[in-house]
Symmetry: C2
Subunit: 360 residues, 2 copies
DNA sequence: GGGACGTACTAAAACCTTTTATAAGCTTCC
DNA sequence: GGAAGCTTATAAAAGGTTTTAGTACGTCCC
């Protein structure tokens, strides 16, 4: 409503070829040209050779339909609004890649906004997307508090908001995969790095871990538990917390980290402390981001199919928009354990010389 | 032109409040309402109290102007197209953050597309952005081969395309800052990690380094030079190349890496080899991404003001669009050396026991 | 030779804004 | 009392597309 008014009109020459241009060119009317180009029902009665003439002319004149006029008339934009917390981390980027791929294949487009956990910015941007005619929303790692007015799919949103479809990892299964793996290798003293309070997966994942641990008779000890803080999206985020675990001098033979980057940061801390992975400590990450396979040693991790999750989110929201498929409150995604080289059996030698006993 | 046709009309209820709604409500005409709400020149003759009534009613009915109708008429979208190579790395994310900030403050919006170095996708998306009415382009880390039809600013684009404004770091100054720093600490045997061929800064930065090295009488030896490969955007990318440097058994007392993540990966490799930083090897990174300050030890690095570069890019393109300021082919950005703890003087002890002599 | 039907289109409305030209009603002034 | 001028609006066009209803013309059939 209030835009900065500019004196000088930019007046782009643009693609000034309209339906009328073509119509005049051929001695027809815009309506006919439109029907032919869109092959609409009205084009039934247009003879083949006229259609061809029209298509030919459109190509020749390099006709591009005016998106705004069309949208105004059709009330369809074929556009999704993607609301992300941040770009620049592997998690969000992979989900967005999946979204991008699906939408591109299906002739949809998307607008991305980032809100950095600022509720006011979120509000502003949601409104803006609405104005720009998006027909649905996908959020990632964003805590929606209220229902948006359009079909909405939340990737890793755990608020269970009415009308919003949540794409969530089956965290219980994930916890089971990781802990069962560690248990089968003989690990009993397992340390944990929990996620930041703000990260929307933190709560559910931790709950699942606690439940599963109980089922598997694995004891979770507060002395072996730390919680991430900060928003750094490099392994640097895990390093100090792993050091902290070591400093507590409570022995442990394995670590289950909240995500790959904190796991990788921990590898480093262990290295520095003279501990070998996996001989002295086994480490399990979470996500299977691209870095995981290239860490040293390559990281055993619970794989979230992030690309796939993005695709599913996109498909779900498009189906909702097009009236196919109906609303479900939740879609569970199956995690997968990727065993690499950061986990191994508890060695008898290590039973004496566990992490906690080594000088940190 | 060919969209998937949907049977069921979604028929959003949308903000079905138009100018006509308000006009009818007040017994006026849409034209009057429009004039009042926009405070256009035509509103001169509308008395204050009528204006107030109109504004009041608009607020009450929650009127939102239809973006598409308005754009159709005004031929302005106040939108910039941002073409990025990838999101998910700190570099692109920070530049985009800067862009976002400037544009938001100035009532512009932006559409982001990513092309992952796929020229076809780039082409498709550029066309799509044009269709969507963007009034200018900003590219990051993208090698444009031809001029786009609108004002264009390239961040870290080095093709010097006619009509495109390049925002480039003063690489000579950057090289000077880093090498002078190392030289002043007594380093003579300096290893280098070059950037990937695809990364658009690689070429210029390396040239600058070579020039400056010559000026400072620092010898660049091929045995102490490696080149990054791959697209991983975590420190994992630097690790193997640092190992490779060590494996060559040529002594060096300092490393100047292409970017922070490869520098951090190198730190790790050195650590692993039992070398201390900075006592045994000094390491200088590039970029000053958020992780740099939190690495171990905190990284000395050449700071690129990425946020600022994004802001400048946005400002430049907006100025171009609005007819303020005129085209310049290049805007140089001053780097800054941030000295942290990964660099230190060459110690006499180290002179005997340099990196190359240690078992890798 | 005239009604029915088919072919090949056209005309016009609708989507919602902005803007320009114009009009209606009132006051003022000589 | 009528022209001039001011105030307060309005009507209509334009922007480009899609769609519905309709028209003009020809052919066929009995």
């Amino acid at each position: 409503m209030t835009q900065p008014s500019t004196k000088k009109q930019p007046l782009r020459s643009q693609s000034r070829v309209t339906l009328k241009t073509i119509a005049d060119h051929l001695g027809l009317t815009p309506g006919t040209v439109s029907a032919a180009l869109n092959n609409s029902p009205a084009a039934r009665s247009i003879p083949e050779h006229t259609k061809n003439r029209i298509i030919e002319a459109a190509k020749e004149l390099n006709y591009r339909p005016n998106f705004f006029a069309r949208t105004l008339r059709l009330r369809r934009t074929y556009t999704i609004g993607v609301i992300a917390e941040e770009i620049g981390d592997a998690y969000g980027a992979m989900v967005i890649s999946g979204i991008e791929e699906y939408l591109r294949m299906n002739n949809y487009f998307f607008l991305t906004v980032i809100h950095r956990h600022d509720p006011k910015l979120l509000q502003t941007y949601a409104q803006m997307l609405l104005t720009r005619g998006v027909e649905g929303f996908i959020t990632t790692d964003t805590s929606l508090t209220e229902k948006l007015a359009l079909p909405t799919v939340a990737v890793a949103g755990h608020q269970r908001v009415e009308g919003v479809t949540n794409i969530v990892l089956d965290h219980k299964r994930a916890a089971h995969l990781a802990l069962e793996h560690l248990k089968s290798l003989g690990h009993k003293d397992i340390a944990f790095i929990k996620g930041q309070t703000l990260s929307s997966d933190s709560f559910d994942r931790w709950n699942a871990i606690c439940e599963v641990a109980q089922e598997l008779k694995i004891c979770i000890r507060p002395e072996l538990t730390v919680q991430l803080e900060g928003t750094d999206s490099t392994p640097g985020i895990g390093y100090p917390f792993a050091k902290q675990l070591l400093a507590r001098k409570h022995p442990f033979t394995a670590l289950f980290a909240y995500n790959d980057i904190s796991a990788i940061g921990s590898l480093w801390a262990f290295h520095e402390a003279g501990l070998r992975v996996p001989e002295d400590i086994s480490v399990v990450g979470f996500d299977d981001t691209p870095g995981a396979a290239f860490s040293n040693p390559p990281l055993t991790t619970v794989r979230q199919p992030l690309l796939r999750m993005g695709q599913i989110a996109a498909q779900t929201v498009v189906d909702l928009i097009e009236g196919r498929g109906e609303y479900v409150p939740e879609i569970a995604i199956e995690p997968e354990l990727v065993v690499r080289e950061s986990t191994g059996p508890v060695s008898s030698r290590r039973e004496q010389s566990t992490a906690g006993n080594v000088k940190a």
